[in-house]
């Protein structure tokens, strides 16, 4: 490899190294071989810098895309699962309570399974949260409250089986803990994990401007060097410089096209996957809360009221109406976001289930307010034409929709990440090859002066 500056004997007076270096450069630039050496050095440096910056920026983006796919989205989904399991456990507990001694094996199993899921999810979330972070605090809080909650539910169950009304008071207390302490903590965890997901997305998708700018600069420098070469020698082609230009162009194209494809895939996975998933998760939680409140209104039997303005309402019926509104809005949003029939069909079906649910609920509430508790109970947890069926259908349809969107996300995010596979290493290698080409080309010219 030729040295950038010729060997000049040391001058007698000592001068600063920098000044001396500049002088030596100036001296070298006065001769053609010196100029050629300088051009070769600058070209090689530009191309190497382009390769290095590309490799660095793209490996950052590829790592972020991989995090989206394998770390932050699974964690966000697992936080949503903790949230859902807790809400579902609360609903199953009230279902079982209403059935009293006739509690079905299914509702008992659901409850136990939910508690287990939540506990396992919390272990996972704890392992992935940074010490001192709000997520860790939320996980710690949930870990503390979960056994407390379960204790209250078990007491409620025992008293209820003996026929004591204090069982209902225990269940209301447990529900209160769930709705006002545990679910907000689970929601906080979910929000934090979603923020982490969004930040991984914004690390993966920005254009690598620095790399692109350096690539264009390197290309411009190569073009200028070739033009100069042509003017001085009248020779059209210098093989080394042409190879270097070709390699740089390929690298630049790969960078821009590869990243654009990756970006499109990731944006799609966000718009059609993550956003739909968030809306669907929220809708599912709303439907679980609504069902829980519907059950609790029959457990409480008017024990708690809430005053809004001048009107007094049963606390649980009031909350039920609010949750159903949230469910309706969530489903409408999910329907608007769904981009194919696989996603929109279950959502539309859930909207239909919700409509029937509202009608049946109005019937049940009328019976309850008319004092026919047995009829109201049958319309809520009965085996036929009860609101329970509607809730189950809403839940099943939302699960189908969630699974579909999860697959969509997986597909598009994988495509996006795969478009960046090999980009860092490939561009680095191409950069080295281009630099070598440039040096080889200049070297050929230099050899003509020897």
């Amino acid at each position: 490899m030729p040295a950038p500056a010729p060997r000049v004997p040391q001058a007698a007076p000592r001068r600063p190294a920098f000044v001396e270096g500049v002088d030596r450069l100036r001296a070298a630039a006065t001769t053609e071989p010196g100029r050629l050496r300088l051009i070769g050095a600058v070209l090689a440096a530009l191309i190497v810098a382009f390769g290095a910056v590309t490799a660095w920026q793209m490996s950052d983006r590829a790592a972020a895309a991989d995090d989206v796919l394998h770390r932050s989205q699974p964690l966000s989904s697992s936080a949503a699962d903790i949230y859902r399991s807790l809400a579902d456990a609360n609903t199953a507990a009230s279902d079982g309570f209403l059935a009293g001694g006739q509690e079905t094996a299914a509702s008992r199993t659901t409850y136990e399974q939910d508690i287990r899921n939540a506990a396992e999810g919390l272990v996972n979330a704890a392992a992935n949260s940074e010490p001192g972070s709000p997520s860790e605090a939320a996980v710690a809080k949930l870990n503390r409250l979960l056994p407390e909650y379960k204790g209250l539910v078990e007491r409620a169950r025992v008293y209820n089986r003996q026929g004591y009304p204090v069982g209902g008071a225990y269940l209301r207390y447990a529900n209160d803990k769930m709705q006002h302490e545990m679910l907000p903590a689970a929601q906080q965890l979910y929000t934090k994990e979603n923020a982490r997901l969004a930040s991984d997305y914004s690390d993966a998708t920005p254009y690598p401007w620095a790399a692109i700018a350096l690539g264009l600069l390197a290309l411009a420098a190569l073009a200028w060097a070739q033009l100069r070469h042509y003017r001085r020698t009248n020779r059209v082609l210098n093989h080394g410089l042409v190879a270097a230009s070709a390699a740089t162009v390929v690298t630049l194209l790969w960078l821009v096209v590869g990243h654009s494809i990756a970006r499109a895939g990731l944006d799609d996975s966000y718009d059609h996957g993550v956003r739909s998933l968030n809306v669907l998760h929220d809708a599912r939680i709303a439907s679980l809360k609504a069902r829980g409140n519907e059950n609790l209104s029959l457990v409480a039997r008017g024990a708690e009221t809430v005053k809004v303005g001048d009107q007094t309402y049963d606390t649980y019926y009031y909350d039920f109406d609010k949750d159903m509104d949230a469910l309706g809005k969530g489903l409408a949003q999910a329907a608007a976001l769904a981009d194919d029939s696989g996603g929109s069909k279950p959502v539309v079906a859930a909207q239909g289930n919700m409509k029937v649910w509202k009608e049946r609920h109005a019937d049940a509430r009328r019976e309850d307010e008319n004092g026919d508790y047995a009829a109201a109970l049958a319309k809520v947890i009965g085996p036929k034409d009860a609101t329970g069926e509607c809730f189950d259908s809403v839940d099943a349809n939302l699960k189908t929709a969630l699974d579909h969107e999860q697959r969509e996300f997986q597909q598009q995010a994988t495509d996006g990440r795969d478009a960046m596979t090999g980009l860092p290493i490939g561009t680095a290698m191409l950069g080295v090859a281009a630099a070598a080409g440039a040096l080889f080309g200049i070297g050929r010219r230099l050899s003509e002066y020897r």
Partner: protein, 345 residues
């Protein structure tokens, strides 16, 4: 492309901003909440309690005295008036007496999930069946409506129920809105605590204790007033819950040391937990009455007639069945006084 990037980065900053706002709000809550709460407990609470008490005891001071309020009712009569005619004229399956009751007061009005048809049962329910039998001929010609405590008076005023039989105390304030029958039960505010507790009643043994009362209850008014006047130590701390039954939950969980509620409901709590007991005598005297619409004079007279008969035949059986286990085999303390019918207009 640029707009997208801007939007993305804005979204990022929006998230950060929201988080920051959230943190600030949470901090503000943590710092300010204790201030507002301690203010509520010390200043606001006792002031409003005192205020409520004042209106409760002094309203209508001219023509109603709380110690005599149970006599403010119409003389008994078996005749059918407009209200009773209207009830009897109801058609088909609607030909029922509509009564507001409680579903959560064990031994008073309670839906037992272990009954085959989950029927209501208790002392109040027995009385309702007797009234229905007398007016409509069949003890089961009743539609029970579960109504929350706060809805007892509105339900009567709006005609949603014919009467309320729901451990409802006769007070001057309530007489402004509804009419009462003669009293059918005597009770009073009482203390409930674990059998092993050093608390012996509504006295100095409550010092430094956490006591539980239901929201907007007589017990809450009394204990806040008595804490001021020195009848109970000022160190008594109060926990307010939505429903009296929630007090038993807090007591069992060790979150409170004692419960104050009226004796009948305290007995209903004691019946669900053999390790707690009523402590000391009742420190007030109150009477339960059947509440009806103010205009239903004929119905009030009829119910008073039914109560006269019920006292001699039925009352004692019902007491023995539901209440003797916790209130004692001797019913003397619970028996209503000999009725006087002082209302004339």
């Amino acid at each position: 492309m640029f707009v997208r990037r801007l939007r993305l980065s804005l979204r990022g900053w929006g998230g950060v901003g929201a988080m920051a706002v959230g943190c600030v709000l949470a901090l503000a809550f943590v710092l300010l909440l204790p201030l507002t709460q301690s203010h509520g407990e010390d200043g606001g609470d006792s002031a409003s309690g005192g205020g409520k008490l004042a209106t409760g005891r002094q309203a209508r001071a001219g023509d109603c005295v709380d110690s005599q309020v149970q006599n403010d009712t119409w003389a008994p009569s078996g005749a059918d008036g407009a209200t009773i005619e209207a009830i009897k004229a109801r058609k088909g399956s609607a030909r029922k007496l509509v009564v507001g009751v409680d579903q959560n007061s064990y031994r008073w009005g309670y839906r037992n999930p272990n009954n085959s048809d989950a029927d209501l049962e208790g002392f109040d329910i027995d009385l309702v069946h007797r009234i229905a039998k007398d007016i409509l001929g069949d003890a089961n010609d009743v539609t029970f409506k579960a109504i929350p405590t706060s809805q007892r008076i509105p339900a009567l005023q709006q005609g949603r129920v014919d009467m309320v039989v729901r451990t409802m105390t006769i007070t001057c304030k309530r007489l402004d809105d509804v009419a009462f029958s003669a009293p059918y039960f005597r009770t009073g505010q009482q203390v409930l605590a674990p059998k092993s507790s050093p608390v012996s009643g509504y006295n100095t043994t409550l010092a430094d204790k956490q006591v539980c009362v239901a929201a907007s209850s007589t017990a809450l008014d009394d204990v806040t007033a008595d804490r001021q006047s020195g009848k109970v130590p000022s160190s008594v701390r109060i926990t307010v819950v939505p429903n009296q039954l929630d007090c038993l939950v807090r007591l069992q969980l060790g979150e409170v040391d004692a419960v104050i509620t009226d004796g009948a409901l305290a007995a209903s709590q004691a019946a669900q937990d053999p390790t707690v007991a009523l402590k000391g005598p009742a420190f007030t005297t109150e009477y339960y009455g059947v509440a009806m619409n103010k205009k239903a004079t004929d119905l009030v007279r009829r119910v008073n007639q039914i109560l006269v008969d019920y006292r001699s035949d039925g009352w004692q059986d019902s007491y023995t069945k539901w209440l003797s286990a916790t209130l004692g085999a001797d019913s003397a303390a619970s028996e209503p006084p000999a009725p006087q019918y002082l209302r004339t207009s």
